[in-house]
Amino acid sequence: MKLETVDLANGVTKISLSGRLDIQGALKIDGDFVAIAEAKKNIVVDLSEVSFLASLGIRTLIVGAKGAANNGGKLVLLNPQPNVESVLRSSNVDTIMPIINDATPLATVFGA
């Protein structure tokens, strides 16, 4: 499980995850992910290279989303693979973290 961060325009931070967000993957990135989310405001989490997601991975995403919200911002999920998206939607995670794709203008997502 890998985590990379890049600052985009308009104060948006992109966190790119890659690998399996299973129990081991979640434990590996949890500290860094939450620390970044709590330090930033508007966050895009690129899930395009995440091949697997389970409940502990969802937990990490939710804690991060709460951190961004505490800063008055928002965390959104970008380009999940179909199986990963089905995990997110079956848990209703998309009701608290919007799922977007490359065609979605970030300005409309964050109102920037």
Partner: protein
Amino acid sequence: MAGTGWRRVFSGSMADVAAASAWVERIAASVNLPGQLTFAMQVCLEELMSNIARHGKVDSSSTAFPAEADAGKPLSISIDIDVFVDRIAMTIEDNGRPFDVEKAPAKVVDQPLEQVRPGGLGVNLIKSFSDNIEYRRTDAGNRVTVDFMR
């Protein structure tokens, strides 16, 4: 109708949760299961095993289960994969604390972000990604069979 079966025993370590998932993936590939079905099996396996690994250990100092013969013993998780023409049956047996996953509530996110409590979403994933689930408390511990229709 008889199927083809595999069986392997794992510990309750995090490394073994990953090892079990890789084992299931190799079995699925060997019988040419579709990727979506393999993914569903891995989701259920991950949730069941990580739950046992995190909550199943019977503490030898615990008084909650004083009659527990396995108190203090390491967790043992056996997995049977049986491939039939119409379905896959995955049976997971462990020697840990009783946990009836069949009756456990399938929690989903149902509150705004500010109020939602992280965690506890695993049972719903097991029920969402399988076609049938059966739990039985055995003399040794817990036995869960999860079916996936082909």
